[in-house]
């Protein structure tokens, strides 16, 4: 494995990403924010709880929130993997398509989302990721009783989205990240779906995600 995660973390975290004179953070073809985890958690969990009051809407809440995670992966991960910063810092380490998974995971480890680690990667078939200190699970545990179901919606969508970008689409070829390409990749019958198998919000010691192709 050619990926030097510490080198990537040091390089990205030292970019000094912060608002410009207009109070905006244009980077990687996106507008970024350094946002408050408490905000995301409150609006996400409040909506999920409200929909969970109606049994037939439970899945709708999860689906909406995980779809937001898919969009995050597509635009944020995709934008980063097409960026000049990626080319400068990460691309020199890349030898295989699988290296792109490890390289992107290293970049995620500068976002404040908690510590992501690839536990298992079967090329084109399966990705297993663990997350320590997930902001979603940590926020849930702080504010609510132990959950009966996993709560890391963004990360679940993100893990699946990373595999979709690489093995359903092909981000290594630098495609335009258009709505049409999103639909092509994330509505494909062979797309990846994410499952949170372990979650701190339900009492597990860490959060663990599996992305596999739709059966």
């Amino acid at each position: 494995m050619a990926i030097d995660e510490q080198k990537i973390i040091e390089a990205v975290s030292q970019l000094g990403i912060s608002g410009n004179e207009e109070g905006l953070i244009p980077a990687f073809g996106l507008y970024l924010t350094q946002h408050m985890a408490d905000y995301y958690n409150r609006i996400s969990f409040a909506m999920a709880h409200r929909l969970e009051r109606t049994p037939e809407l439970i899945d709708d809440g999860q689906t909406l929130l995980m779809e937001a995670g898919h969009g995050c992966a597509f635009h944020t991960f995709g934008g980063i993997m097409k960026s000049a910063e990626w080319d400068a810092v990460v691309r020199p380490m890349l030898q295989t398509k699988e290296d792109w998974v490890y390289g992107m995971t290293a970049v995620v480890n500068t976002f404040g989302w908690g510590r992501w680690a690839v536990r298992d990667l079967v090329p084109g078939q399966r990705l297993v990721v663990t997350v320590q200190d997930s902001y979603e699970a940590a926020g849930y545990l702080r504010d609510y009783p132990r959950s009966a179901s996993p709560r890391c919606y963004l990360a679940t969508g993100g893990v699946a989205g990373l595999m979709n970008l690489l093995y359903v689409g092909d981000i290594t070829q630098g495609p335009e990240l258009s709505d049409a390409y999103y639909k092509q990749v994330f509505r494909s019958p062979s797309r990846f779906v994410g499952t949170e198998v372990l979650c701190r919000a339900v009492g597990d010691p860490l959060c663990l995600f599996i992305a596999q192709r739709l059966p």
Partner: protein, 172 residues
């Protein structure tokens, strides 16, 4: 490290500011999530939730930052909030009209309005719910007001075609 910049714990991938976790997200996620909350709850309840959540998030964070500089006057505390708002990427705010009795905040740029326009075009309703709640939290912490006394709204929004976003905070 400036008072308005998060500290990075590289070993655990935690960004902390005012003892609160800070995370990177882009306009696609922020606006998609906002729209998802509206889909799930309806626009009126979603607006109330997002304003309340922003106030709940910003108030303790800014209380911690203000406490580091207890000599600051109200106007200086609000200017600190203005710098923080910009450094975190939410936009360029002008809060010079804001007092302990309320007032207006002009957003010369707004992440949420610009992001909405870029992603979906002209909005049918104001979209800067987070900024409304942020500034309610900032004033609440700076003037040490009970949060129940504050009400906020967006009077005009760039995402709807207005030149600037204009927020109003009323102190009851």
């Amino acid at each position: 490290m400036s008072a308005e910049r998060p500290d990075f714990d590289a070993g655990r991938n935690l960004l902390l500011l005012g003892e609160r976790r800070i995370i990177f997200h882009c306009h696609h996620y922020n606006l998609f999530l906002q729209r998802s909350i509206e889909d799930g709850l309806g626009p009126e309840e979603a607006t109330r939730l997002q304003v309340a959540a922003a106030m709940e998030s910003a108030r303790p964070l800014l209380t911690k930052l203000y406490a580091k500089e207890p000599e600051l006057a109200l106007v200086d505390k609000l200017l600190l909030a203005q710098r923080l708002f910009g450094s975190l990427g939410f936009g360029q705010a002008d809060c010079t009209d804001l007092t302990a009795h309320g007032g207006q905040i002009r957003l010369l740029t707004s992440h949420y309005a610009i992001g909405w326009l870029a992603k979906w075009g002209t909005a049918s309703r104001p979209v800067c719910h987070f900024p409304v709640g942020f500034w309610m939290g900032a004033l609440c912490a700076a003037a040490e007001l009970p949060p129940e006394r504050l009400q906020g709204r967006e009077l005009s929004c760039h995402a709807q075609g207005d030149a600037r976003c204009l927020l109003e905070i009323e102190v009851l």
